[in-house]
Amino acid sequence: MRISQLLIGASPGDAVTEAALRLSDALSLIAESEVYAVHIHPALEGRVTRLAKFPLDGSADDVLILHVSIGEPGIADFVANCPERVILSYHNITPSSFFEEFDPAFAARLRAGRWELKAFADSAMGAIADSEFNAAELKALGLTDIEVAPPPLNLQRLHDIEPDAHFTDELAAVEGPLLLTVGQILPHKRPELAVDAHHLLNVNYLPKARLFIAGVFTNPLYSSALVRHVESLKLSTVRVLGAVTDAQLSALYRRADVLLVPSEHEGFCVPIIEAFSLGVPVVARGFGAIPETAGAAALVLPCSATAADLCEAVNRVLSDKAISLEMTRLGLERARLFTAEETLHGSLAALARVLQREPVLAISDHLT
């Protein structure tokens, strides 16, 4: 009996890839479990297998978990025709409107993804969503009984790893308060809003505050526009770091005084939980799944908030010790709900519940 997982793209640091790998480790204890992907980053060559190698001898006894976050030509048909029972794991497809203007090819893939989602929904026996926000999108397509469970996280890796020493020294030398933004440099994450808010913060309140932007330069056009924007504003207090290692990320969280999340679309938002677990107050805008993920432990501003509003909120947190202490406390408390064990258990339980709807063999018994 096999429980396979299918990703479109597997790359290190990608939240969906991480979740699939953790799940796979757990599932391997009770069944044959491989992770397949269409596009595989070289660093993951050994862990993830090319879709071409997907076994052709599957049956209705086997399960295929399809992780959906973007469209890919051919997958809809593959899924429709494969004999395995399909379970959707929906991580949310970014709305194509964010990319229309400057990367129409990518926008087309996102649009195709949404179109295909309907087809997947029809083929699947059930669905798991990372958040109520994601679940709502599936409900709009006519799916019912969607299981909601946060993806399996691995926060401990940031705690266990030795923070990058060189980086830590550099960060320790920073005099003023330190703001942090974590996330891929993509338009729906709105990193430029963090830059604008930081400029206003420097001008009006805290001239020594520094902003570090950590995140992969997934889209070269957007990333270089961001860097040029910082240059055009002549902001020497902002550093756009690009991709960082876990060791460096750990050092950043440990020194940060605030995590700023200007993002306009999130299916879960892992950095919020990472920040909570390392005692960093979080200021965010209430888009997508952010209010659900943050709960009552962060300062969640209304969606209409602009750079100026973010600036005011951050200033408040940085100048009032009592508030930042309270936010740290609330964050740590909330992070306990998202440990590796908790989240893995939650995901497996959700999986079990979906499978129980069509009990075949005793898979579900194995899972609980």
Partner: protein, 432 residues
Amino acid sequence: MSGKARPDDVVSVTVTEPIDLHQVLEEVRVAAANARATGVYPAGLEESLQSDFARQLHRPDPRDRILHLRKELERLNSAAHLKQTSAPTTSSLPGGSAAHKAVAKVVGRQINALYEQMNEFTGELLPVIGHVVDGLQDPRSHMHEDLVCELNSMQDRVAELQRTLDHLDTSFRDSASVMARMLDHLNAFDGLSARLQRLEEAERRRGFDPFFDYGDFEDVGRGPTAEMVVEYRELADGLVGVPGPVIDIGAGRGEFLQLLAERDVPSWGIEIDEALVVKSAGSGIEIRLSDGLEALRDVPFGSLGAIVMLHVIEHLTPNELLELVQLSFDRLAPGGRLVLETPNPQSLYVFARAFWLDPTHSKPVHPVYLEFVLRQAGYSHIEFDWTAFPSEDERLVEPLGDTALDQVVAENARRLNSLVFGAQNYRVTARR
């Protein structure tokens, strides 16, 4: 030492009043509103920040394309090693795998040869692309427009190659679903073309397309040619010695061009009405059939001595006027003049008599607005002349008596005169 709270601090601090984050949010909202009201974040500041980013986004750096190309190249390099051994020989049919393997052995040599050729090809292509990319990255190489185009098509071809390689590993699927999608698109397209037709019809109705010869009506509306000439002599005199040729946009029948020719001022005209262009042929002056904006776009920068538009701008839409002013600025030589004459909307007389007589008039242009636009565009030495005052007999009589009543009547008459019988036209001259 940062002021950041460490997890251990939390235990030791006793908070006197419980912190309610909802309350903090409300306080932040009030603080932000206050800050906006007192001008800490003036109107337009945040928009300016956003538009700066948008500008960076739409100004792609050639370096990005090279980076992108490199990434693609790397992917291609890793995917491009085709081996016979990686082609699947398993099958889900009973005995299928054995048969498959046997066939593979037989055609092995041919398949190998094919693979070798493909490998050779990609092996040769990839280094070439690599060299091109290296060359482009060399800061000493100059990026020409055509090179950038080459880059684009190169990128496309690389992507093509990648797709081809991908498809070699998957098999063809049923095209029925594809057909269904295409039919959907065609249906949508039908509806779309119907809408387009309706839009075109509406646009046609909004335009002006008389069944009569419009030139005949123009003769009715304005005075005969001789009168025109007298009015513009002074203007023509003033354009002698400008630093370059003069163009008359909306030259009509060429009366003003005649005046310039008499003064040996190099000039030509632009006119969009074919009938008028034909009428002027053979009279010794040059009028070109063209749209004014297009004609200006073709003129080299800084080459004109003056641009004259007599009774043209009241026919334009607001955006067209702005474009015209900006285009003109660049085309004038330093010291060159822009001369615009148009009806004066501050005179109510104008509306009763001449303005609405012309069915093609769009909107009068207010001198205050026009001055603002000219200044914003960078013109200097902006001067106004008011012309074509209604005759004395048309104006209200201002009695000269001494009585209080006489004085009141005189004052009233004076006010009405200045409001109603003001100059019918104004001419603005601006210098680059």
